[in-house]
Amino acid sequence: MLLLAIGAALSYDNPADTSIWVLVVPMLLLAVNLIAAIISNPRINRRGGLLVFHLGLLGIVLLAAIGRLSHMEGRVEIVTGSEFTRESLSDVRSGPLHNGALDQVRFVQGPFTVEYRARMMRGLTHSYVAIPDSEGGWRELVVGDDRPLLLEGYRFYTTFNKGFAPILSWIADDGRPVETGAVHMPSYPLFDFKQSNSWTPQGGEEIKFWLQLETGLTDKEAWVLDGRNATGTLVVNVAGERTELLPGQSVEMPGGTLRYEQLSTWMGYKLFYDPTLQWMFLTAFMTVVGLGVHFWRKLTTEPLGLDDKQQAKRRKIAQDSTAVSRAKTVQES
């Protein structure tokens, strides 16, 4: 237990960098100890509630281990109107035994709204997504905050990380096919003051630009962030000259033409997969029920000795014995 406590303290706030072994080794030792105790100790294995409790503890440790081995975590940013792809995942971490059906996960990101109160306090997020239904069509769902999108056991949680994405096309002078892409601008409204980015189309030079947004943002009163009600002017520097583009407009640049197609948005999700979740909850619940049953039995069968008569008797005995000891001290002195 001491080792486990030390392991837990070491993992504090830094689970990613701390070796998992500081937890695994003490947990394993504890599990072995627990198994030994369950088998050998009739005070545990003869009493139902207590047995359930200790088996439950063992179950939790085992499930946590299985969970770590088969889990997957990651992040993904999806542009409104586009479909989730496995390739767009970043910061992916998964256990060696992870074998979920991520390839079967399909959904299309729709628009989203985020409520803000005065002083820019973020409130509820509503993110609209479409998932394939059984008839070959699409079904719309709303997720956000505490409500993840749950597909094939994978959970997608909306995050505070979301923003705007101008959709840009590059029409190259040399006749290559038109290249269109969405550029994710920094998180909004967190980085309202630096909505700048750059894009290097194939065969072209790096294009630096920034976005002037009209979103209704204010820190004085409540407002709602909704990409559908926002407009954005793209500001590009061409040969040292500032050029402003509205959606649909283009500008000639060395090597080709840049066209600002439209303003879109992106939502950042956190991905989490752990097949043991439900089992973990069930086991933990049963563990506490076991503990509860055990204590209930204990409390109802073992008297405390606190009813009036017993108390009066005890008090008398206690007093007699103090009297005796007082008498003794007197004698001794």
């Binding site: 237990m1 486990l4 406590a5 837990a8 303290a9 993992s11 504090y12 706030d13 830094n14 689970p15 975590e73 109160r117 002083r119 306090m121 973020r122 409130g123 509820l124 997020t125 956000g144 905050d145 505490d146 409500r147 993840p148 959970r155 949680y157 956190k270 989490f272 752990d274 979740l277 973990m280 909850f281 933990a284 619940f285 563990t287 506490v288 503990l291 509860g292 204590f295 204990k298 409390l299 405390l304 000795g305 606190l306 009036d308 108390q311 009066a312 005890r314 008090r315 008398k316 206690a318 007093q319 103090t322 009297a323």
Partner: protein
């Protein structure tokens, strides 16, 4: 801040209850000393009964006034007392007071523990007075039914540890001659110790439930059920400590006084977890997430 007068009145009621309880115990012990053993054996005198009734009434008044405080604030700012330390402390003062008042009423042996428990509540009371009573903002992740389970179980855990600590405190204080006389009307240490550990067993059940509810909520709110943040680590260590203490007591039959020290350590650890951890952790539980 229309709730402040109610808060002051509630704290005042608790303070009066503390004083009355102390005076009562003092009087009782001198009565026992003067007329022992006949009166003590016959039971508690009428004046002591009145004193206990007064303590009970004052504590009930305190609880009711704190309910009004919380309700008034809730209506004014539109959400419950779950966010900043000012409202968390008032909410704990209310729930600890409620559970303790019921225990005080139903389990007469516990009444003497008022001299330990009520001053401990006063640590929270003085603290709350020192805080800025600012309004809080309800985070988006708090729109979740697990909030009630998590917070509710946590409150029972702390309240049962507090009662256990009251008994443990009485057992330890009895080691000094002054208090031995003061507490001479109580049953012996063996019984107090047994009762204290029963509350600690209950505390363990509720601590486990709080951790489970917290983990389920964390999965919903933050997309992971456990990640060793400050409060998670601290509350896990707290749970281990309580489990270890219970094992020490049942398996190794630790002496009563050492057992009492263990109970108090669990409470102190819980206190630091509840009210200390939010200070050095920017993550989780603190602020809007």
């Amino acid at each position: 801040m229309t709730e402040l007068p109610w808060l002051y009145a509630g704290l005042l009621a608790y303070a009066l209850a503390t004083v009355v309880a102390m005076v009562g115990i003092g009087r009782l012990s001198s009565a026992v000393a003067a007329t022992a053993p006949s009166l003590a054996a016959a039971g508690i005198s009428e004046s002591q009964r009145n004193n206990e009734r007064l303590v009970l009434a004052l504590m009930t008044a305190g609880v009711v006034l704190l309910v009004v405080t919380l309700a008034d604030r809730w209506v004014r700012i539109g959400h419950g007392p779950f966010v900043n330390l000012f409202e968390l402390l008032i909410s704990q003062l209310f729930s600890l007071g409620l559970v303790y008042t019921i225990a005080y009423w139903r389990i007469p042996v516990l009444r003497t523990t008022a001299v330990v428990v009520l001053p401990l509540m006063w640590v929270l009371g003085v603290w709350v007075l020192a805080l800025e009573p600012s309004d809080s903002v309800f985070p988006p992740t708090y729109h979740n039914p697990w909030l009630w389970a998590h917070v509710g179980f946590g409150k029972f855990f702390l309240a049962f540890s507090l009662i256990g600590t009251g008994l443990a405190g009485v057992i330890l204080l009895r080691g000094r001659p002054f208090f031995r006389r003061l507490f001479s009307h109580l049953p012996n240490d063996v019984i107090l110790d047994k009762l204290a550990w029963r509350f600690m067993l209950l505390a363990l059940v509720f601590d486990s439930l709080m951790l489970i509810a917290g983990a389920v909520w964390a999965q919903d709110a933050w997309g992971r059920y456990w990640a060793w943040d400050a409060l998670e680590t601290s509350s896990f260590l707290n749970w281990l400590l309580l489990g270890a203490a219970i094992h020490a007591r049942t398996t190794y039959k630790v002496p009563i006084r050492l057992g009492a020290i263990l109970i108090i350590s669990v409470f102190v650890f819980a206190f630091v977890t509840y009210f200390g951890t939010p200070f050095y952790s920017e993550a989780a539980h603190k602020g809007v997430i």
